[in-house]
């Protein structure tokens, strides 16, 4: 299990125990974290699962692929540390991960 902290735009924190193998998006949906719509269910097609990865965790969460990169280009307020959370797979190495949610999706 990996502990993941999701911080809503208004500051509300949700700490979730995530199963390795699922995505950071799925762990949020499964644990009723609000603010991640995930309309396409993780197909990297909708960009409604946008999160900001805590800068300290950027190396562990890996690289954006080109598809994700282009989708993020048009997300609401994209930043250097923006990711589509459906494209980050939970591993034990991500125990302690912190992600912040944008003010809105899309």
């Amino acid at each position: 299990m990996a502990k993941i902290t999701y911080i809503e735009h208004n500051g509300t924190e949700h700490v979730v125990d995530a199963q390795p193998g699922v995505s950071v998006m799925e762990a949020a949906v499964k644990n009723l974290v609000p603010g991640i719509d995930a309309d396409c269910g993780g197909a990297c097609a909708c960009a409604t699962c946008h999160v900001y990865v805590d800068p300290e965790w950027l190396p562990q969460t890996g690289q954006r692929e080109s598809m994700e990169e282009s989708m993020l280009d048009f997300a609401y307020e994209p930043k250097e540390n923006s990711r589509l959370s459906c494209q980050i797979t939970v591993t034990n190495d991500l125990d302690g991960l912190i992600v912040r949610l944008p003010e809105q999706q899309g």
């Binding site: 699922v22 799925e26 949906v29 499964k30 644990n31 009723l32 309309d39 396409c40 269910g41 197909a43 990297c44 097609a45 909708c46 960009a47 080109s66 598809m67 282009s70 989708m71 280009d73 048009f74």
Partner: protein, 414 residues
């Protein structure tokens, strides 16, 4: 007195309607009734990752069990509604039990069209709509022998891609002269035909199915209308879906290729709404009626139906469904994303603009009607998809020559 909202059909649209009604402040009972025994789940992976075996069942569920408790939504599964009595305001299930409603949302979806040729009922003829269908299909992916796919629409082609990737011999039979004819233009059809052929799929265009042959009660071959016989161990039928409108029609609600609703997702009965694959609605942007089979439509229209049921209960003005349609499909390494609704192929004034993707690995095909942008199909070109999703509803004039010129930055059109 508190009201009761009943939703028939616990799929993508029904679930969304229930959730949105609550969010919008519907204070009474919310009862979500579904014929299937599985809690609401996503269908797209049934012909993609789940069919491949890359996802377990739990990951298909749209919401965890805790959601229904938290939102106070009563989920009744394995319950098929057989009749709506509008006079009494009740729905009746297959067991004869009655549930009264003050507001009703019909979200029954669109089950697959069935084959009607001789042999259609033979064992080994498969359809793909439900989790159970996908499980059945998965078991044939591991057997030997040829799989015949009838129909080169999205679902047929996605199944062909998964079966081919699993090493199976795949023959696709399509009556039209190109694949995806109902939904896409010729350039996209060509792209996917080439893609499938490059992966070793035997794609037979302009070929009709005459009948299904069997041996010992199981599928053994299909006979084509040109006299050829294709031996096979299984047939997968993907010839489209038909809206499940019987309940509504029998209750006297107007139906014509779906349950007819207005732009607020309401039927002619002020207490009844419909959403998702089953609903036929007027698009304010396209100024024509549409019936769509896609997840975004189920979500966005389900939302509007749920919100408006709550608003009606609370005496608030209804919301309008005017989201631009969109869709995606995954086949092999190709991702197709569509924004907007393509005009029918014979629409006068229809123009098509083909644009190679910036990185040369994909393309986008844009349609215009009398100079106005209508839709874009983008393969491996998410930028074209998202630009289209914003540009189309903006109504901004677009120079077709510039649009087709890959050296022009797409973002400059916004």
């Amino acid at each position: 007195m508190s009201e009761r909202l009943v939703i028939v059909g616990a799929g993508q649209a029904g679930l969304q309607a229930a959730a949105s009604a609550r969010q919008e402040g519907f204070a009474g009972d919310v009862v979500l009734i579904g014929a299937e025994t599985a809690p609401p789940y996503q269908r797209p992976p049934l012909s993609k990752a789940y069919l491949k075996g890359d996802l377990d069942i739990a990951r298909l569920h749209l919401k965890p069990a805790a959601f229904f408790k938290q939102a106070n939504i009563e989920l009744r599964l394995g319950t098929r509604i057989e009749a709506i009595d509008r006079k009494r305001g009740i729905v009746k299930d297959a067991g004869g039990a009655e549930t009264a409603y003050d507001r009703l949302i019909i979200a029954t979806g669109a089950p697959p069209r069935r084959l009607d040729c001789p042999g259609a009922e033979t064992q080994g003829v498969h359809y793909l709509r439900t989790l159970a269908d996908s499980d059945d299909l998965r078991s044939i992916l591991t057997a030997d022998g040829t799989i015949v796919v009838i129909g080169a629409g999205y679902i047929g082609l996605e199944v062909a891609a998964v079966a081919r990737s699993a090493g199976r011999n795949v023959v696709v039979i399509e009556l039209a002269d190109r694949c995806l004819k109902r939904v896409a233009g010729p350039a996209i059809s060509d792209y996917f035909a080439n893609l499938h052929r490059a992966h070793g799929v035997d794609l037979q265009l302009g070929a009709g199915l005459e009948f299904v042959e069997s041996c010992n009660g199981r599928v053994s071959a299909v006979r084509l209308n040109d006299g050829r016989t294709v031996p096979c161990v299984a047939v997968v039928v993907g010839i489209g879906a038909a809206p499940d409108q019987g309940l509504a029609a029998e209750a006297g609600l107007s139906c014509d290729n779906g349950v007819l609703v207005d732009e607020t997702a309401r039927t002619e009965d002020a207490r009844i709404w419909a959403a998702g694959d089953v609903a036929n609605f007027p698009s304010p942007f396209y100024k024509r009626r549409l019936r769509l089979e896609s997840v975004p439509n189920a979500i966005d229209q389900g939302k509007v139906a749920g919100i408006n049921a709550a608003r009606a209960a609370n005496g608030v003005e209804p919301a309008t469904y005017d989201a631009l349609p969109w869709f995606w499909s995954d086949q092999y390494e190709a991702k197709l994303q569509t924004a907007g609704a393509r005009p029918s192929g014979d629409a006068p004034g229809l123009a098509e603009i083909i644009r190679p993707a910036a990185d040369g690995r994909g393309l986008s095909v844009w349609t215009m009607l009398d100079g106005a942008l209508q839709s874009v199909d983008a393969v491996n070109d998410p930028t074209a998809f998202i630009v289209g999703k914003r540009l189309i509803p903006s109504g901004k004039p677009v120079d077709p020559g510039r649009l087709g010129d890959a050296s022009q930055d797409l973002k400059s059109f916004l």
